[in-house]
């Protein structure tokens, strides 16, 4: 079942169309990437999902039900531009955020203590937010986002400004939460992270949906029939078959562009017949980054 389902969502700001007829589904228990260049309408979409603003038309289903106020309690949202009340103490701030998510004051305290313990920051309870570094504040922010065990977690650039150690800490927690059944929408520009973390993505540009699907499927869909061969000897590669063309050769590796109708086996057969010794052979799939840039520039032209 889908934890979130958007059907024909459209949002105008005055005459400007921020979201244009967008539909997609986020499967339950998945990590889902929401991609798009700056100003593509990602933030607006997230704000519609979190019920901060209302769509002009379209339907939003959360957990199969029509979106309503009570869904606040099962959503955790960490915006890209984030802040905290600087004068408040860490503990009371987290209690405040938790109670706004319908936790009782006792339950909130217990949960926060659990998480602070997990991040090894138990002694921060009485520290003022303004005394913390940016990275430290981000940890507090993350706890504030997940303290109520949300079923749907929306993270907008969660790793920006974090050092590698803290990045990994947060990443591990994201996987943990997924294991426990949470669904995560992950919005970012960092494509290598998308490939690493996300199972499914949606790509939006100019308010329109460009792409939607599983990361593996999308890479297959946009494959360019290129193969990489690792050669045993450093000699110029000559294939002599119209269907295959060497487009790039470096020290011991060659990239071959194949005809659309040719199969990987055909290439192997040719290589064997020509008695070219190879150490490795694999298909080169486009990275999500390449696809992203391709699709977005195509949309501009």
């Amino acid at each position: 079942m889908a934890i979130l389902s958007l059907q024909n969502v459209t949002k105008y700001y005055g005459t400007y169309k921020a979201n244009d007829n967008i539909s997609f589904e986020v499967p339950e228990g998945s990590i889902f990437g929401l991609l798009g260049p700056n100003g593509a309408g990602k933030s607006t979409l997230i704000r519609i999902i979190t019920n901060i603003i209302a769509a002009d038309s379209g339907t939003i289903l959360i957990n199969g039900e029509k979106q309503r106020e009570a869904h606040h309690a099962i959503i955790g949202y960490m915006p890209e531009e984030r802040g905290l009340y600087k004068k408040m103490k860490v503990g009371e701030h987290l209690v405040y955020l938790a109670r706004l998510k319908n936790l009782g004051s006792k339950g909130a305290k217990a949960k926060i203590e659990f998480w602070m313990d997990r991040f090894a920051i138990t002694d921060w309870w009485d520290k003022k937010i303004e005394e913390l570094s940016k990275g430290m504040q981000q940890k507090i922010q993350f706890i504030g986002t997940i303290v109520h065990d949300p079923k749907l977690l929306i993270l907008d650039e969660p790793f920006s400004g974090l050092d590698p150690i803290n990045s990994n800490l947060i990443k591990d927690e994201i996987y943990n939460l997924k294991e426990k059944g949470a669904s995560i929408i992950f919005s970012t520009h960092r494509m290598e992270q998308v490939e690493e973390i996300c199972e499914e993505i949606v790509l939006v540009n100019h308010g329109k949906l460009l792409l939607n699907g599983k990361v593996k499927d999308i890479r297959q869909r946009f494959k360019k029939h290129r193969f990489s061969i690792h050669l045993e000897n450093d000699i110029p590669l000559m294939i002599g078959d119209g269907r295959f063309q060497v487009i790039q050769q470096t020290h011991l590796e060659a990239i071959i562009q194949a005809d659309e109708n040719a199969h990987a086996n055909d290439l192997l057969k040719v290589l064997v017949e020509k008695e070219i010794n190879i150490n490795a052979f694999h298909e080169v799939l486009p990275s999500i980054n390449d696809i992203f840039i391709d699709q977005v520039t195509k949309a501009y032209s």
């Binding site: 901060i52 606040h72 915006p79 802040g83 408040m88 109670r99 706004l100």
Partner: protein, 431 residues
């Protein structure tokens, strides 16, 4: 509603726990008392003792009476010589009265000294000289002094009687004006203080970006409402603490200045006493003050303060939400401050004449009524007018909160752009 309560709590507690709140709460009444002491000192005994030489060349006998601080001595030496030696002779200055031709407008009377005279001393000398000139004119005209004394005693005063259900109450217009003015002024000042506290609070949430996290849990309108109510509660706490502290300080001062206060008390109960001591005016004012129903005024004050605060607080919140830069904020702030400032000007007129059409309309129109009606209340306006003004004020703040909510929920998420009024107008129609 539960969430609004949480927001109110946070807004209230974080502010009440601040050092600045505690300092303001203590210093407020202290400042009030210090101001009072300053007034007493400044007007009571500000003049130092002065000895003044009088060089009288007018050709008339002129006697200037001494006061507690001023001593006058006739000197026969010439003015030029005295100017050189007056200090050695122990004088602070020389009052020179040249020959007088026109007793109505005597020319050339001068006070010569290194130091200027204070206003009280100067007034004393002028009034003494005016009296002397009058005496001279009476003598020269051969008028009967007893008749003149009788003429001088003519004194007409118009008393105002307000006709109401509870019979007639005597109210001195000047005292009512004073009380009305003070009430209007307090509402004016507090509206700005707490209104801008709301504005700054909203702007702070917007600039440090915490707002987006909060409104993913509550509706923007709930956040705005919680903030306005929370800060309103802070203001009422402050008023209450001030009232308590002022009562305590009054009590303490009452013990210290027992003598002085009991004198006033006696005057209040027995006006003839005041007449004897020449403090008739003071006694009348005190009597008029005693006639004013302060409990009722206090209750009206609370109502109009809360009403006005809610009405303008919502607008201030909208400004805080809409503005991105300091310049924007100042410009928008000015726009909503204008009706408050206008109310202040109307109020100054109204305390002089509380029953003009302007006074009526301004005291029922919700954007001016908190200040203007509050200033009219000591004059006991017709009850239906108060009721109308209250109903319209309630309607007014419901309207302004609704309007502000529309601007707030869009503005709070708008970053980077300069905001025009037209743009804000468009926000009202966003879904």
């Amino acid at each position: 509603m539960n969430k609004v309560w949480l927001i109110i709590q946070r807004e209230y507690l974080t502010r009440v726990r601040k050092k600045s709140f505690i300092i303001m709460t203590i210093l407020g009444p202290l400042g009030f008392v210090l101001f009072f002491i300053f007034l007493v000192v400044a007007f009571g005994q500000s003049e130092t003792k002065k000895k003044i030489a009088v060089v009288n060349e007018s050709g008339y006998d002129i006697v200037i009476r001494d006061t507690t601080n001023l001593y006058f001595a006739q000197e026969d030496t010439s003015l030029g010589y005295l100017e050189l030696v007056y200090k050695q002779k122990g004088y602070d200055g020389i009052l020179h009265i040249p020959p007088i031709r026109n007793t109505s407008r005597p020319n050339g009377i001068e006070y010569r000294s290194e130091d200027q005279l204070g206003i009280v001393a100067l007034t004393h000398i002028e009034s003494q000289l005016t009296n002397e000139m009058r005496e001279i004119k009476i003598r020269e005209a051969n008028l009967d002094k007893t008749i003149l004394t009788e003429l001088n005693e003519t004194n007409v005063q118009v008393r105002q009687k307000t006709l109401g259900e509870e019979g007639e109450t005597e109210v001195n217009a000047i005292v009512s004006a004073g009380v009305g003015y003070a009430m209007g002024l307090i509402i004016y000042i507090t509206m700005f203080i707490y209104g801008s506290m709301v504005m700054r609070g909203v702007a702070e949430e917007k600039t440090n970006r915490v707002v987006e996290i909060i409104i993913s849990s509550v509706k923007p309108f709930q956040l705005m409402l919680g903030k306005i109510i929370g800060i309103g509660a802070v203001s009422i706490t402050q008023f209450a603490l001030w009232a308590i502290l002022i009562t305590i300080t009054q009590f303490v001062f009452g013990i210290i200045f027992y003598q002085e206060l009991s004198e006033v008390q006696q005057m209040l109960s027995d006006p003839t006493l005041a007449q004897q001591s020449g403090k008739e005016e003071l006694a009348k004012s005190l009597a008029a003050l005693a006639n004013i129903n302060f409990t009722a005024i206090f209750l009206y004050f609370i109502f109009y303060f809360i009403g006005g605060y809610l009405l303008y607080g919502a607008l201030f919140a909208a400004v805080g939400a809409a503005a991105n830069e300091q310049d924007d904020m100042q410009a928008l702030n000015l726009i909503i401050s204008i009706p408050i400032i206008i109310s202040m000007f109307i109020m100054m007129k109204v305390v002089q004449d509380p029953n003009t059409p302007l006074a009526f309309w301004a005291s029922v129109f919700p954007f001016t009524s908190p200040i203007v009606m509050m200033a009219r209340i000591p004059f006991n306006p017709p009850f239906w007018q108060i009721l109308l003004s209250m109903v319209l004020l309630i309607g007014g703040f419901i309207f302004s909160t609704w309007l502000a909510g529309k601007v707030y929920r869009v503005g709070i998420l708008m970053y980077g752009k300069r905001i025009s009024i037209r743009e804000i107008g468009r926000w009202l129609f966003y879904k």
